[in-house]
Subunit: 433 residues, 2 copies
């Protein structure tokens, strides 16, 4: 019966949805019918532990977010050309969580729209076009963002690097080009060199755009001091700094609300998405009054749905739940526990080359040998499938797809962490036997 | 009290929201607290007749849409990498409303994201980069779309026309460069010439992108036969045709579900937005299997929120209401009545140069004299403000901002139409005295 609905849905997808859209576990995809907290429930009656979805940040279908959205939808959903309380309240609440001088908000519908708008801002403000990004980075699905996403322009179907883009090395201290004690300084020098290349090009250096912790590149935690040195280099040539917090913002890193804070920097522009509305389509750009003023050059910025009363109600409810359920502290505690459990497994399993992360943003890198560190891509894929059979949803990524990514909804518990660690251990024991 | 909340909201907006965001009626903006059908209600207790918002298509806060969204939000909101019924059901329902071979859907979060994706598709499919657009057109707020929107790149703060864009004349039979019986053929020849210019350029002609009826350009209804001739010219050189139905789709034109049908054409790609989710952030691109296949070149297309179960539930509810409340036929009937009432006023008011439109997409063009047709920009602005004082919300647009745009939520009634016509008449009588 459930198998039948899966086949039926796949057949119907094939008729009316593009093959460009992928389905997870294509041999045995999951027909989801409901979800709650950190669990998805299939039409087959099974419960799945969700270790992969960072969008339902405060938990799938959190009743407070649902209630806030429904309450506001019944009243009115309109646009920012009208005045309404939720917009200003949300802008105040959001900017209160960000350091000065990040105080001016723009609301959009997705992380892609946020990064698109950030691109427009840095170019309007600096009157330059060159953009510096990190290798392996992904910033969104529009043409303008694919152009600045090495993950896409160097990937399958990609058209290669555009002239106006300069690429800095992925600041990966485990398997990247620089390792050891001075890796941070050397990666920073590499990025500053890329900024300087843009600076002397015909395009000029408009901005350095980066996730403070990298997601698709393989859960990369840059060495301490890296981002501060890069930002200094950018500012030395008048380039702006953009922190893409779409994947990792809103307390996931545990110690701070924002990942850039773990690198002791304050960007000129922050872009927000995914977790911001707990699945309601919402994104934001927050910048300084100075940059917002440059951008206000006479061209109106209008976003039909962005900053609507309902979107703001969703955003406000997410902030309330993060605070009331102390989810940032929870992410720190559970993340530390899970990281420790996974690190313990390293002693028994040489294929675990690295366990890294902050809060509930964790990566487990699978390699053939702790020293040689060749990627175990196939092992990672088999682990993803084995865990799925056990009812645990997890994904792999990175340029060699050998990094297991862990970024669950924040209610993820100590018991869930233990269940995950046990499953990883069991899979690796069986794989080795 | 209400004045105080308006001042308070304006002050708080000034602190945390960009000046690039405009507010309607800046001397006396409206603090909206609830809405229903075709009415907005202010914190001042006043009811406002909404003649401007085409996004709450089936009526502000329609209970069936709210209920569908809330029901699905309580169950699960996830992404298209999982299987769920609402996605395939919505794709089936939507494509059933479109002519063959438009049968493959992509779901996104806004009209801008839809047009962005259409741009990627036409370039991937044709391996060309040149885009032909109509003068005065607006296709969205990303950099890639501002580049193809003369309304923006030639407007305040605009950077001018990029090399890869060719601009065809606005097919405006009233005040454009071609008038009279052969205007359609002459505008078509102008557009085909632009397509041919792109074709011989270094970029090649990837696509002709146009709203079948133009919105921001001033509620332009092209002459009969125009689009068919342009599409023939595009196809003759292998360029694709994109119909931007973001403003005007879903039955507003009354005689048909889609505006392109009023011009007897079938585009290669249709983009949808604004009304599609009745204010829930949603957009779509529908294309042919052939173009979808070219686009599936190995690069995954992933849109975090696009096509989520909740978005699809909103889309499905909108289709249900359009059908059950027979809103397309209603738009035809009420639109015809309103157009007739406004046309009657032309005899008394020489400043009404033209009344045009299809269904509930109507424009009233104000000019100094029916023959000379110089734009009465100031009169249009004063009319907008006078009607606002009467509790009627309406806007002006077009290159000279002298066209009164009427595009209300579809429940707009005969009585509402009469109220609007009486108010227009009264204003023009007072303005002339």
């Amino acid at each position: 019966m459930s198998g039948n609905t899966v086949q039926d849905l796949l057949r119907r997808r094939a008729s009316h949805l593009s093959r460009s859209l992928s389905v997870l576990y294509d041999d045995d995809p999951i027909h989801v019918v409901r979800a709650s907290g950190q669990y998805l429930f299939g039409a087959d009656g099974r419960q799945y532990l969700d270790c992969m979805n960072n969008v339902p940040h405060v938990g799938h279908s959190h009743p407070r977010v649902t209630e806030a959205v429904c309450r506001q939808m019944k009243l009115v959903n309109t646009n920012t050309r009208f005045l309404y309380e939720p917009l200003v309240e949300y802008a105040e609440r959001l900017t209160a969580l960000l350091p000065d001088p990040l105080s001016v908000c723009f609301f959009v519908n997705s992380g892609s729209e946020a990064n698109e708008l950030a691109l427009r801002m840095v170019r309007t403000h600096t009157r330059r076009r060159g953009i510096v990004v990190q290798d392996g980075a992904y910033h969104g699905n529009t043409s303008g963002l694919i152009d600045i996403s090495p993950y896409k322009f160097n990937g399958r179907g990609g058209a290669g690097k555009p002239d106006f883009v300069e690429v800095a090395a992925t600041p990966d201290p485990f398997r990247g080009i620089h390792r050891g004690a001075d890796a941070g300084a050397r990666y920073a020098a590499d990025a500053v060199a890329a900024i300087d290349r843009a600076g002397v090009s015909e395009f000029g250096a408009a901005a350095f755009i980066a996730e403070p912790l990298m997601g698709t590149a393989g859960q990369i935690i840059p060495p301490d001091g890296y981002l501060a040195a890069v930002y200094r280099g950018a500012r030395a040539v008048g380039a702006l700094t953009v922190a893409d917090e779409v994947q990792i913002g809103f307390g996931r890193v545990g110690t701070h609300m924002w990942a850039f804070q773990t690198q002791q920097v304050i960007p000129d522009i922050v872009t927000l998405g995914k977790p911001i509305g707990n699945s309601y389509p919402l994104g934001a750009v927050v910048t300084t009054p100075e940059i917002a003023d440059s951008f206000a050059n006479g061209m109106e910025y209008f976003n039909t749905f962005g900053g609507s009363p309902v979107a703001c109600a969703a955003g406000l409810a997410v902030l309330d739940v993060i605070e009331d359920e102390q989810l940032q502290a929870h992410a720190l505690r559970v993340g530390a526990h899970l990281k420790a459990s996974l690190a313990e497994l390293m002693a028994r399993h040489p294929s675990i080359g690295d366990v890294r992360g902050l809060g509930l943003f964790i990566g487990v890198e699978l390699v053939d040998d702790p020293e040689r560190r060749s990627p175990e891509t196939d092992l990672a894929e088999r682990m993803v499938l084995a865990l799925r059979r056990e009812g645990i949803l997890i994904s792999s990524d990175g340029p060699d797809h050998n990094v297991i990514k862990i970024k669950p909804p924040l209610p993820f518990s100590i018991a869930d962490a233990d269940r995950l660690a046990v499953a990883v251990d069991r899979f690796l024991r069986e794989a080795a036997s």
